[in-house]
């Protein structure tokens, strides 16, 4: 596998105390929660559907997808949870996240460490303060066949 020069801009957000990010190319909008409807028979991490401009799109609870305890368990995060509407090819989904934080640049020449194609993460963005932000591989993230233990 060749390591090409990878760079872009991502939006970072909080999820169960950790920082994650999604490339801005995948993001349609970030909005408040509301109007979620339950559908019987959906997998655990898909908590329902919402109306996005006339289309019915699934809501993925990212905490459940990532195997984290539900946001309801640490109540203070509840009011900030919002939906990040993302697109990957044909698929449009809403990701329920704890709190959107900021947008930042990443570049494999300076601050980005790339993973292989097998993970739901594309890699890690190093912050100047030494912390790391995990950048999602959106295609793998929404593909529920990719199991997260």
């Amino acid at each position: 596998m060749t390591m090409g020069d990878i760079s872009g801009r991502a939006v970072s957000f909080l999820l169960g105390g950790e920082m994650f990010a999604v490339d801005i190319e995948n993001i349609i909008e970030i909005k408040n929660r509301g109007g979620e409807k339950l559908l019987p028979g959906l997998p655990d991490c898909i908590t329902g559907v919402i109306n996005h401009k006339g289309d019915v799109i699934p809501v993925m609870d990212l905490r459940r997808r990532m195997g984290k305890p539900p946001a309801e368990s640490d109540g203070n995060e509840l009011d900030k949870t919002c939906l990040m509407i993302i697109q990957n090819d044909e698929d449009i989904l809403a990701l329920r996240i704890d709190e959107a934080v900021t947008s930042l640049e990443y570049d494999s020449e300076s601050n980005f460490m790339q993973l292989d194609d097998e993970s739901v993460l594309r890699g890690f963005i190093n912050r100047p303060d030494g912390s790391r932000i995990s950048l999602f591989n959106v295609g793998k993230l929404i593909d529920l066949d990719v199991k997260i233990v």
Binding site: K37, V49, D91
Partner: protein, 689 residues
């Protein structure tokens, strides 16, 4: 490389749409007039259709189509000018049908580069020969057709005495058949701009009304300043329809310059006679477009966008009018309330209107069958009459588009297999005309279309025998009812006619037709009476989008059930309910003894909070798609209201989670923006068995 001229991609859709429309109109006229008199109006109309097709094909650079249309146009120009002219009408119609088909084929395949451009030379020659024969047979209405010699105007020159050496003049001649040469000329000048600066042209104004005639007569003279006259020459020669390019010599160099004074307007004499119809036909063609002023065609995407916009307006409206921030002031704002009601009324009307726009009558799909029957009558000699009933019945455009293939198949089958040969009919003592009847009518939210023939009908025993031979029987022969036998012909690999004809009889198709109909929520059924004929019934939803549903509460959430699936809803009395020792529940209707097993929807969907006594909820009896007697009833907490909703199938992503198998069709977004899941009764029942 695309078949049409570069830069015309934007026009492609319009061209295909208009041309198909015109050709359909042509077919209509031909069908109508084949057995009757061809009125001058019809002749004029055919002429105009051909003229327009010719023009637009030429515009697209489709020479073959343009030439063929031109030949047919000329032919009708003869008939138009001399209505008493004699011709062989059947032969003429045969030729027109063939021409119409060729043009249609070409139009349909224009974007498909794997289909080569057709060569219509033979067809054109045939038409021309026919026209020639017509002229000789009847009184020749027109003076001899021009031999095509271009008028001698090559010496028109634009050179001024003081032009520098890098200024050159060219005279460009177009093919006689070239339509709207002024348009071609403009394109050519644009291309020429790449190699030099165009200083002047003759005719000077290409937009002028007579520019086309002038060019046809005298060619296009171009004065251009260029450093590379050879390349300019090559550019001109490469132009579409250009027959010859003559570089013009400067007068000082030309020997006999003084002999002829350059004429500002090219002489009219020697103008090819064929050019004449074009200008004279222009006014009627315009008039024809005016006639269609009541109808415009809109791209479907635009319409769909309009539909979703109307829906979003409803949502925004309720966001404004029911805004909680307004609540404290509401009682003191009677004017606001009045305006709000007015607004709501208007928006409701808007939504209804937008929905109705997509509805089209089935008559379009029906009248296409005229042609099918006509062609088959020609080959099979059965003289079948096609009758329409209820062709004004409206269906959604998408449904209408889907109907073409099934109808074609069924009509062909009816004419080919259903109707007997004239001899057989005589032998059977049948006196009535062999008829295929297409009818359409509404039945709740469906449109039912039947294709009925008064032919031989089908013998269930023979069908069964055949089914056995083909090995497609699925249960013991004794269990086959008459209906089951008829249904056999819709099974894969079944053909009752041993003779495979041009039109049908390959034994594939009926099953495909059925499958395709089922894909859009429709169905196909057969009934037949031996000796009296067969009836094929297509049932399709009126609209793929809007359906009437009943809202039900299940586990605290509202769901919708299509009305077509519901037969009866009632709240059972205590004495109507029973419970087996295993805990299964069943109900019966008032005063009847038949028990229905109860499927609790809440339990089925896994959303049941507490077990509601049957007597406090609603029992739903359903119309199942299967033929077998139903033994199940659904149970919901409550009914809410009837609603008109647009059912959307699940997105590709959601579809993977087996929602359909779980018993959900899809979802609908209601007027206020909320989402309601729609229940697929058949799947729920299947799951419950």
């Amino acid at each position: 490389m695309a078949k049409f001229e570069a830069g015309m991609e934007a026009m492609l859709d319009m061209f295909v749409f208009e041309t198909s429309d015109l050709l359909a109109k042509l077919d209509d006229i031909l069908m109508r007039t084949e057995q009757e008199e061809l009125t001058p109006d019809d002749i004029g109309e055919i002429f105009r259709i051909m003229h327009t097709v010719k023009g637009s094909a030429a515009m697209m650079g489709l020479q073959n189509m343009s030439h063929l249309a031109h030949a047919l146009e000329d032919l009708f120009s003869l008939i138009r000018e001399d209505p008493s002219i004699k011709y062989d009408k059947p032969a003429l119609y045969e030729m027109l049908y063939a021409g119409s088909d060729s043009l249609k084929y070409e139009t349909e395949n224009i974007s498909d580069e794997s289909v080569p451009l057709s060569d219509f030379t033979d067809q054109i020659a045939q038409v021309r020969a026919f026209a020639e024969a017509m002229k000789n047979g009847g009184a020749a209405p027109e003076a001899a057709v021009g031999s095509g010699t271009p008028a001698a105007v090559g010496d028109v020159s634009l050179y001024a005495p003081d032009d520098p050496d890098d200024v050159f003049c060219f005279n460009v001649r177009y093919d006689e058949s070239c339509m709207m040469p002024e348009i071609r000329a403009m394109v050519l000048l644009n291309q020429l701009a790449a190699v030099g600066e165009v200083l002047a042209t003759l005719p000077p104004d290409l937009d002028a009304d007579d520019a086309g005639e002038a060019i046809t007569a005298g060619g296009l003279t171009i004065k251009v300043r260029t450093a590379d006259p050879d390349s300019a020459f090559a550019h001109l020669q490469a132009g579409i329809n250009v027959s010859c390019v003559t570089p013009l010599m400067r007068e000082t160099k030309a020997e006999a310059a003084a002999e002829e004074v350059p004429a500002p307007v090219p002489s009219e004499q020697g103008q090819p006679a064929e050019a004449a119809p074009a200008p004279t036909a222009a006014p009627p063609a315009k008039k024809h477009e005016d006639k269609g002023g009541g109808v415009i065609s809109v791209r479907l995407e635009k319409l769909d966008r309009l539909v979703s916009l109307a829906q979003e307006i409803v949502i925004a409206q309720s966001g404004v009018l029911h805004n909680s921030e307004l609540a404290p002031y509401r009682s003191s704002m009677p004017g606001f309330e009045r305006s709000a009601r007015e607004l709501k009324k208007l928006i409701d009307e808007l939504q209804d209107m937008v929905m109705s726009v997509r509805m089209v009558p089935v008559s379009g799909a029906f009248s296409k069958m005229n042609r099918v029957v006509r062609d088959m009558n020609k080959t099979l000699g059965k003289g079948v009459k096609l009758v329409f009933v209820g062709e004004e019945t409206e269906v959604d455009k998408s449904v209408n588009d889907m109907l073409g293939d099934p109808l074609m198949h069924l009509v062909r089958n009816a004419v080919d297999h259903g109707i007997e040969s004239p001899e057989e009919r005589k032998a059977a003592g049948k006196t009535e005309e062999p008829t295929v009847t297409l009818s359409a009518f509404y039945d709740s939210n469906d449109v039912v279309i039947t294709v009925a023939d008064n032919g031989a009908g089908m013998d269930p025993k023979k069908l069964l025998e055949k089914g056995r031979q083909k090995g497609i029987l699925t249960k013991p022969e004794s269990e086959y009812t008459e209906q089951d036998c008829f249904a056999l012909i819709m099974a894969a690999g079944f053909s009752t006619n041993t003779q495979v004809t041009e039109y049908s009889g390959r034994g594939v198709g009926m099953d495909v037709v059925k499958k395709n109909l089922e894909k859009i929520g429709g169905s196909l059924s057969v009934d037949s009476k031996l000796g009296q004929g067969s009836t094929f019934t297509i049932r399709v939803p009126m609209s793929l989008s809007v359906s009437t549903c009943m809202g039900v509460m299940v586990g605290g959430q509202e769901y919708a059930i299509p009305m077509t699936a519901l037969r009866e809803a009632f709240r059972p009395q205590k004495d109507q309910t029973v419970r087996t020792p295993e805990g299964r529940e069943a109900v019966c209707r008032q005063g009847e003894n038949k028990l229905f097993n109860v499927i609790r929807l809440g339990r089925h969907f896994g959303t049941e909070r507490e077990e509601l006594p049957l007597t406090e909820g609603i029992i739903l009896l359903c119309n199942t798609s299967g033929d077998e007697d139903e033994h199940e009833a659904l149970f919901a907490d409550a009914l809410t209201e009837e609603m008109q909703i647009v059912i959307k199938p699940f997105s590709h992503y959601l579809a993977r989670f087996g929602l359909k198998e779980k018993g959900l069709f899809g979802t609908s977004v209601l007027g206020d923006g909320s989402i309601i899941p729609v229940i697929d009764v058949n799947e729920v029942l299947r799951g419950g068995r």
